[in-house]
């Protein structure tokens, strides 16, 4: 990957709403070159999706999130990847990660209510034959998401005129 491609990726990661024209302006590249880079990364599934980070609490539409630590037992037929794929297919599941330490997977689940999430864990995840244990932690509040602080920005204390 050359440095132009890397710069385009960094810009998109920071603000995916930037148009190709804007990126071209900032990086002083021809728009066609930026289009070519973006298309290439989309085709190669390097850029997977363009997404907004929403603070749902602000619009009284807060969802319930839970982090579920999952312990599994492996069999000759079913390894980590097979189990992870099975868990990942549920639309309620936001993230599945294989982690080191006491547990095998960390699963992030989103639901409309505590009950929703609790039922989902009890009925869909715990019942997978390889799953030995689940430990559910409900998220009480999110302060930072995907590198973005969700608390208010600091106020601008600058003077109105400075030489």
């Amino acid at each position: 990957m050359d440095s132009e491609e890397l710069e385009v990726l960094k810009m998109l990661e920071e603000n995916s709403r930037m148009s190709n024209e804007e990126i071209a302006e900032v990086l002083a590249l021809p728009v066609e070159r930026v289009e070519e880079i973006v298309r290439k990364f989309e085709d190669e599934r390097v850029v997977l999706k363009y997404k907004a980070i929403v603070d749902w609490e602000k619009v009284q539409e807060d969802f319930v999130y839970a982090l579920i630590n999952v312990k599994v037992s492996l069999t000759r037929e079913r390894g980590y990847d097979d189990i992870a794929k099975r868990i990942a297919k549920f639309p309620e599941v936001h993230a599945v990660r294989l982690v080191s330490g006491e547990y095998d997977f960390q699963v992030v689940v989103r639901g409309k209510s505590l009950k929703d999430v609790a039922f989902f864990v009890a009925e869909k995840i715990s019942t997978i034959p390889e799953v030995r244990d689940t430990f559910t932690h409900f998220v009480l509040r999110t302060y930072k998401e995907e590198g973005v602080n969700l608390f208010s920005d600091e106020e601008d204390r600058r003077l109105a005129f400075v030489p």
Binding site: V26, E154, F161
Partner: protein, 392 residues
Amino acid sequence: MRKTGGLPLSRRVAKRVDELKPSGIRRFFDLVVGRDDIISLGVGEPDFPVSWRIREEMIYSLEKGYTSYTSNLGLPELREGIAEYYTRFGVKALPEQVLITSGVSEGVDLAIRTLIEPGDVALIPEPCYVSYKPLVEICGGEAVTIPTIPEFKLTYEILMEYADSKPKILILNYPSNPTGVSYTKKELEEIADAANELDLIILSDEIYAELTYTGKHVSLASLNGMEDRVVIFNGFSKAFAMTGMRIGYVIAPPDIFAGMLKIHQYCMLCAPITGQIGAVEALKSLDEVDRVRAEYMRRRNFVYKKLSEIFEIKRPDGTFYAFPNISSTGMSSEEFAEGLLMKKNVAVVPGNAFGECGEGYVRLAFAVKFDKLKEAMERIREYVDEYGKGKG
């Protein structure tokens, strides 16, 4: 009542201080006092907060009790870091040539006081930052200003026109506050040639070096034969947004360095330790500067595009300032700025605050969030449509 001996104020205050002109921005300060509904493009200060990594370092240092003086010269690790950092602008400096000052302002003052004796001539291209001329005059020097309208740049020919004034120093700031113009290596070489012929010492204020959008910033001191003629000023206020920390530095030839150090130790002793510790961390956070530069560049492109639809304007090569020529509106700089503030709640600085030849221009700082900037550009357009004569 305290006895003053019945003398008027002008007799108590030293004549050279009494005769200094107050900054042209003062009046505008008074106009905005108590108003919070304005979009200010009058602020020469980054709108990004200081990186949290830097703030954490400073907080920890306070917790650990780092509240003492440092050496007059500054923290050794900071001086080493700066010498290493400046190689990116082509300068091979030793840590022994680096003096940590309380902001660039102190550095410029030290250099002028070290070099200027009564009657000595300092060349100052205008429009320029507001401090240079008064600092020369305080020392009894003669500030000879060089109007650089409309290109805002010095050339070999322009400099040689001032040979008869027998100048001792030239104060150069690039990328420039307020015009945003900078110099290419070739253009700097021309200036270097003139400096050699005129035996000039150049005070090179490079505080906006990191905010260069056209190619890479080149330091004058990196050019052949210039290392003994150039005093470099830089600091942490603009690229790292550490304005209130007051940490600047100079890189100077040994004889000038020794003089500056003497004055520094008598008047300032040392720069604040907390800021110095923050600065050490700042030099480890250069990737954050890249992000900030990209954002300013995006705003520069936008502002330049919008303003050039209304005014004659040179595209800023660096800084976060644009300096459009507003004379087509039929208004003076002050009329324009005051009207824009009163009618449309947008604050800009009249160009004549940066020297007489800045009349007909205003300075806009695009160090505000993009949505505000968009709004400000719309209001300026409306203002010119409603109250000005318009372009051409």
